[in-house]
């Protein structure tokens, strides 16, 4: 059975018509299943574990990056595939990177059921699929205990990328794949102080483990959750089965 987990923000009246369209499409395509709605009192891990015990065939997240992150954290140790129906064009970078269309159009991807295994990033004890990001100001980075990276320019951002978010243009042709068991450490800074010609500069490292320290700024994972440093980032031992679209970026 397909289990559809709706995020709590979808209880707002403005999403009624979107959900109706999604549900109609699901019925038309014969993808019917049970709907679980998240709420303040409901524990996500409990919902996911119960549905797995009851024999769920697929768990489909209906929501945004935050919803996907929450459910992925609950599902990382199980073999059941995760599907995504992104609602709204904002905060849905995970679905975009996986080549999944928005709202009712995502049902085509669910129906095609193209399942792949992807790496899962781990920031302390929290999983992420897309990236972990922090501002460069006051950030120090230690890699594999062999060397440290000091960022001389305090502007810009450091990202540890598992799945390349849309809109990020890398300075060189490099294949960022969530299937290569490697994370990309990407540091963006402004190289010149000339206000008329602020050239952006980049650093790029391929890593397996990194320790991020910052006394004042948090690490943001999957555009949704903040974690207070020090944060050790690596890859989870388990991979996640996920339904992807044809137009994914890897």
């Amino acid at each position: 059975m397909n289990i559809y987990i709706y995020d709590s923000f979808l209880n707002q009246k403005k999403y009624e018509s979107v959900l109706a369209k999604i549900e109609t499409r699901i019925t038309d395509m014969g993808l019917n299943g049970k709907i679980d709605r998240l709420g303040i009192t409901k524990n996500i891990n409990e919902i996911v574990n119960q549905e797995i015990k009851r024999g769920a065939k697929t768990i489909v997240v209906v929501g945004n990056d935050q919803t996907v992150n929450k459910i992925a954290n609950a599902m990382v140790n199980c073999q059941i595939p995760l599907g995504i129906i992104p609602v709204g064009k904002e905060n849905n970078d995970i679905a975009k990177a996986l080549g999944i269309d928005f709202e009712e159009f995502a049902c085509e991807t669910l129906s095609a059921r193209r399942i792949i295994q992807i790496d899962v990033g781990l920031a302390n004890n929290t999983c992420f699929l897309l990236r972990a990001a922090i501002v460069n100001q006051e950030t120090t980075i230690e890699i594999d205990q062999n060397y440290s990276v000091e960022i001389l320019d305090k502007q810009g951002e450091t990202q540890i990328i598992n799945l390349l978010p849309p809109g990020i243009i890398l300075p060189i042709k490099i294949k960022v794949s969530p299937q290569d068991e490697i994370l990309e450490l990407f540091i963006k800074t402004k190289a010149t102080k000339n206000i008329f010609n602020k050239k952006i500069s980049y650093s790029l490292f391929q890593i397996k483990k990194v320790l991020i320290k910052n006394k004042h700024f948090p690490v943001i994972i999957d555009n949704s959750k903040s974690i207070t440093p020090p944060v050790e980032i690596s890859l989870h031992k388990q991979k996640l089965n996920i339904i992807v679209g044809h137009n994914r970026n890897f």
Partner: protein, 126 residues
Amino acid sequence: MFSKQEQKADFKEVETIIGPSVKIKGDFHGTNNIIVEGVVDGSLKTSGNLRISDKAKITANVEAKDAKISGEVKGNIKIRGYLEITALAKIFGDIEVLSLSIERGAIINGKCTMLVSGEEIKKQQK
């Protein structure tokens, strides 16, 4: 003889870039092609190719397959293949290399030793 095109280090597949606003402290050992535009303090070693750009400052022993140096290097350099030193390069240390080109204007303070490949040793022995 190799043509000039063949002698150039191949940087089509770069997997590490040390950008101009970044300082690396410690032993950086890689297996891929590396571009250095920033500061490195410690040691820098790769089994791939290395490019040190004109703004880079390296205080480290350097080892790579092929390399192109345009920046400042304080430390010994060991290149198993071809080393291209451009006019902007400043090298303070010994160089060990198999094949070398130095552009007019480059500053080199140190001993330069040419490594001889196994095939060439055999030829000399004959």
